[in-house]
């Protein structure tokens, strides 16, 4: 069992509290947090840029790199290299000169799958990039295909958010003015290359020469984002005729695109979306979990602004999508937040009192999605919230989980947003189960993908009926599944063939063809467990 220790990091401007596992370097922990040390060598101690001063606590011993890179007088005053530094107790450190703030953060790579495929002959252009382009976030990883090693990962905000929170708003923006299309395309292309350059600058220490050796860039994502990335106007998304068919996202300016990225040898592939509102991100999810290798039924949901759902019945894949709504992104609730400092990420009921867990242990400033799911389930269990979504004792200020903190209030409108989001998702799951004639008892696994799923308390999600009732041990959370599947596409020798075969097995379901979906939707508005017996 790996221990966690508390770290207080001081800078001239702020102090932050972190929990760090013993086997994670201080540099990587700060990369994940976003308050980063300076770095240029990928954490092997050769650049000496990531100096940090220890103030209190026990740490691992000085390494050879630290003896070489840190002058004796600074070593005596507690200066260390953050990439070589691991905690052995709770500790405090001071960071004198943080790296400039950035849109990009690293992932915690613990529990991340590693792949080992037989090496294939990649001579010069052996670097490869996997990209998952989402409505709100971009995730990417950089690979050396010869050694089959992931050099680093990053995630950052999709800067298009500034032009519209959801997909349709962004498409509407560009429909109003042609110039906007170019800007939406350029903004997202600039963001992706900025993320790649961030990895090269910090984790390799060279940029231009490495970019020239990139042979593959594989991009998955939701349909609208990929259409905009390729330079298309997304008009197909407005036409119901094209909603059930794959949408080709082929850029007609690939040459200049590669030039602008300084990647002359790269084959940039945008994986074609499966249908109008079913992107290739869910295709990557399915590849990540090897879904077609299983003989028993599996349900998979990738929660987000647009929630995509897949059901494997042992022979074919039933796929659909529904608007997840802002409730699953935290935003859209009166006190909704993304998973930022102070966001309530979990709620527990201890001796009939609500105990809040917040990101970075800060004072609660609002709810992120996982905390909100907990709150609803516990309010139901306590009887404060009825089956209908009405409060037992409605108050003008809403229900405060912490009576002294107005940011912990839940209003009827928040419950309503959650009810509608969960009903559309659960009803879509039910529709697929009905079409494939599968009961929830027969599901061997339920996979929950997307950032939303990462911190989800599945028991609480079941209490309110967000996901089907089944043994929790059969429920798997996989936050970065789409990026993981995208990585497999650039590494596995038969990736293209396997991906094409998978596409052949997909049956896209347009829920509007099924009048009973409305009934399922209304029934799932009730805050009660979701069971499909028949």
């Amino acid at each position: 069992m790996i221990k966690n220790h508390s770290l207080i990091l001081h800078t001239e401007k702020q102090s932050i509290h972190l929990q760090i596992p013993e086997d994670l370097s201080v540099r990587l922990a700060l990369d994940i947090e976003g308050l980063r040390v300076r770095a240029a060598c990928g954490g092997i101690g050769t650049c000496g840029a990531c100096t940090i001063k220890t103030v209190k606590g026990n740490f691992t011993s000085l390494t050879l790199a630290e003896w070489q890179k840190i002058p004796p007088e600074e070593r005596e005053h507690g200066t260390r290299l953050a990439c070589q530094l691991y905690l052995k107790s709770d500790a405090e450190v001071f960071l004198d000169n943080p790296a400039p703030s950035s849109n990009w953060k690293s992932f915690n790579l613990q529990h991340w799958p590693n792949y080992h495929y037989p090496n294939f002959d990649v001579k010069n252009s052996f670097y490869a990039v996997a990209v998952d382009l989402g409505t709100t976030h971009i995730r990417l990883s950089f690979w050396d295909r010869n050694t089959q090693q992931r050099i680093a990962c990053r995630h950052g905000n999709n800067p298009q958010v500034a032009l519209g929170e959801d997909v349709l708003t962004r498409l509407d923006v560009h429909r109003q003015r042609e110039a906007n299309l170019q800007s939406l395309t350029q903004i997202v292309r600039d963001a992706i290359i900025e993320g790649i350059r961030d990895i090269l600058a910090r984790d390799i220490g060279e940029i231009k020469s490495i970019l020239a050796k990139v042979g593959v860039v594989n991009i998955v994502g939701n349909t609208a984002m990929l259409a905009l990335l390729s330079g298309q106007d997304g008009s197909e998304l407005y036409d119901p005729e094209s909603w059930e068919h794959p949408i080709a996202c082929l850029a007609d300016d690939v040459f200049s695109w590669k030039q602008s990225w300084q990647m002359p040898n790269a084959n940039i592939t945008i994986q074609a979306p499966l249908a109008g509102f079913i992107g290739s991100d869910i295709l990557a999810d399915l590849i990540a979990i090897n879904i077609t290798q299983h003989s028993k039924p599996i349900l998979l949901a990738d929660f987000g602004t647009n929630t995509e759902i897949a059901l494997w019945d042992g022979k074919q894949l039933w796929l659909t999508s529904v608007p997840g709504g802002p409730a699953f992104e935290g935003v859209g609730l009166q006190n909704g937040l993304s998973a930022e400092a102070g966001a309530i990420r979990a709620v527990n009921l201890i001796n009939d009192s609500f105990v809040l867990e917040t990101v970075d242990d800060q004072t609660a400033k609002g709810f992120c999605a996982s905390g909100f799911v907990d709150a609803i389930a516990l309010l139901r269990i306590q009887g404060e919230l009825k089956l209908s979504g009405r409060f037992l004792n409605p108050l003008p200020e809403g229900f405060l989980l912490d009576k002294s903190n107005a940011y912990t209030a839940i209003k009827p409108g928040d419950i309503d947003a959650f009810q509608r989001a969960k009903a559309s998702t659960a009803a879509a799951m039910q529709q697929l189960l009905v079409l494939a004639n599968i009961s929830t008892h027969n599901l061997s696994e339920l996979w929950i993908c997307g950032a939303f799923g990462q911190h989800l308390n599945v028991h609480n999600a079941q209490t309110s009926g967000l996901i089907p009732t089944m043994d929790c041990s059969r429920i798997k959370l996989f936050g970065n599944a789409a990026l993981s599947g995208c990585e497999k596409m650039i590494l596995a020798p038969n990736a293209k063939k396997n991906t094409d075969e998978l596409r052949q097995r997909i049956h896209v379901v347009n829920l509007s063809h099924y009048p009973e979906y409305d009934d399922y939707f209304i029934n799932h508005l009730r805050l009660q467990p979701f069971i499909r017996d028949e």
Binding site: L168, D172, R175, Y238, D239, P240, K386, L387, S388, G389, R390, K411, P412, G413, I415, D416, Q419, R420, A423, N510, L511, S512, P515, D518, D519, F521, I522, L525, R526
Partner: protein, 221 residues
């Protein structure tokens, strides 16, 4: 006498307790209330009360609205079957969602309300072309075309209400057939109905049914 029934029925429906709502109605029937009175004096006023609450209280629950409308529609169907004489229809409306729009729920609630107000409803479904609205209205001798749009581009698109209006004009049907619209975009812009060539609009199911009823009656007078 209806006030108590309305109160009990509303409370049951607000708690989405269909069984209890039915018990209230059964009790009313046993005490001599006719099925017609149940529909016109209990169910419709209760929906109106709920709508009033939605307008007053911005925090009110839309999910609640959907669930209660479903129960109301079910009970109305049961009562209609018990009417002593087959209720006489006051007119006919063709309903559907606009071209490119697959959201059917709002339309469904309007249909439930229309039926309880004795209006014949012909549902064309979702993603309906302008020509199909017109052809159906002519073939079925309908007085009103009602179009639901849940997205701005389907409300304002050239293949939607705008085209229905131009076809009505082209075929000289404007006096005989009225055009009503509804859906989320119209709630944000109260003049939008005018811009898309509609005669009227409504913010919710009950209002839509009332407006359609008035348009039918106006046309007859």
């Amino acid at each position: 006498m209806f006030e108590t029934y309305i109160k009990d029925y509303n409370e049951a429906v607000f708690e989405i307790d269909k069984e209890l709502a039915l018990e209230v109605i059964e009790a009313a029937l046993e005490e001599g209330v006719t099925p017609e009175q149940v529909v016109f004096n209990i169910i419709i006023p209760s929906i109106e009360e709920m709508m009033a609450e939605i307008v007053i209280n911005a925090d009110t629950n839309l999910a609640q609205h959907f669930m209660t409308a479903q129960i109301a529609a079910e009970i109305t169907e049961k009562m209609l079957a018990k009417f002593e004489t087959t209720p006489e229809s006051i007119g006919r409306v063709i309903i559907g969602t606009s071209y490119g729009d697959l959201h059917s729920l709002g339309k469904r609630i309007v249909m439930g309300c229309l039926k309880s107000m004795m209006v014949d409803v012909v549902d064309l479904g979702v993603n309906i072309k302008a020509e199909d609205f017109i052809d159906a209205a002519v073939a079925q001798d309908a007085q009103v075309i009602a179009i639901s749009s849940m997205m701005v581009h389907t409300a304002t698109g050239e293949e939607g209400s705008l085209k229905v209006r131009s076809l009505l004009k082209e075929r000289g049907l404007e006096d005989k057939i009225k055009l009503v619209v509804g859906g989320a975009p119209y709630r944000f812009d109260h003049e939008l109905y005018n811009k898309v060539g509609a005669d009227s609009w409504a913010a919710d199911g009950v209002t839509a049914a009332k407006i359609i009823r008035e348009l039918i009656l106006e046309g007859k007078s």
